[in-house]
């Protein structure tokens, strides 16, 4: 699964109530069109689909205040909130070597209580190690790794990647245990969306980090 549902739910949730263009703008502000599949079509599709599935409630709204076609505003239902946290927990715990889900999850992790975030990240490191062990166990033939030829480089790369990510995750856990950042159970959250009238400093047309991801 891609990160699109998590991103869209997270963006709508930050606003309380948001229309598609607002979500699209937030995701652009986050650079998400660069490091995930957050293109307009995917965003609007996800909104409609999740509305159909009862995760979002759609309010039909009069013509926009600023030109363009009429717009629909969305709001998370209870089921939507539940789905959001399910996706978020899952994204924090799962090792899947695809950057988008993990990146989105980092952006939203402060929606959880600090202790839970730490627990999930520890589980993540455990799973990375488990995965690493299974690569080593399965893909090294009995008669020695030479038998694999250059294919052995693939396992080599996987192991290297897994180790790097485990190390980084461990360091993050340490920072969190030392009290870094403000979590859901600790007061004023960090604001990561654009206000209704705020200009987007990363408006389309320039290149950002994440380019060529």
């Amino acid at each position: 699964m891609s990160a699109i549902r998590l991103l869209v739910l997270g963006a709508v949730r930050m606003h309380g109530r948001a229309h598609g263009y607002q979500v699209r703008n937030d995701l652009e502000y986050w650079g998400a069109h660069e490091w995930s599949n957050a293109k307009p079509g995917s965003i609007y599709h996800a909104l409609k689909q999740m509305a159909k599935q009862g995760l979002l409630h759609a309010h039909e709204i009069a013509p926009s205040t600023a030109g363009g076609p009429p717009r629909t505003e969305y709001e998370l239902t209870d089921a939507g909130t539940e789905e959001y946290f399910t996706l978020l927990r899952d994204a924090l715990v799962t090792y899947d070597q695809r950057g988008d889900v993990k990146t989105a999850a980092l952006g939203f992790m402060v929606d959880l209580p600090r202790a839970e975030a730490v627990t999930l990240l520890k589980e993540r490191t455990r799973r990375i190690e488990e995965w690493r062990a299974s690569v080593v166990a399965h893909y090294v033939p009995e008669d020695g790794p030479e038998r694999l030829g250059h294919i052995g480089e693939i396992m080599n790369m996987w192991v290297h990647t897994a180790d790097s990510e485990r190390d980084w995750t461990s360091e993050l856990i340490e920072r969190l245990e030392d009290g870094a950042y403000t979590f859901a159970d600790e007061g004023d959250p960090f604001i990561g969306v654009l206000a209704e009238d705020e200009e987007n400093p990363y408006a389309t047309g320039q290149s950002h980090p994440g380019d060529a991801l």
Copy 2:
């Protein structure tokens, strides 16, 4: 883009001529259904699509020799061979943080002359560094990184990932420069497909590395 076209072209090319089920079996042998989107539907779709686009030539063939419906055999056209090498070179050079394309490219890199593979990988490290620099430049605001709150962890992770991958790529380049493996210009290639009557040691039903990727 996903790795499916590269994988399918590479598999057909190794056989010279292959039908869909054979390709599907090879990809399973490589574990590709675990670390990429190489599911039956995608494979057959890619074959048909690339045949329509003139990258593959489709031979209509009589009923199979071993039960099941009649099958179609495919062969790379000149355009298909060109496309294969374009995709391969591109995959070796591009830093995109998605494991599947890179993994496929490693598996096929020996189809190039050694010197070219090394050159492409060096370009890869250059691009990784370039990307890293752009992340640092764009996402650290003037008034210090603290302003980013926990969002700064995302840049932190990207930089960490990029560094890890650059290091690994450099080590690979060294191994290749020391003469590791056998490349296209150096005689007998490593055989990575199943022969017509060979059994698949990784037949479906067991778990392999790449599980839960």
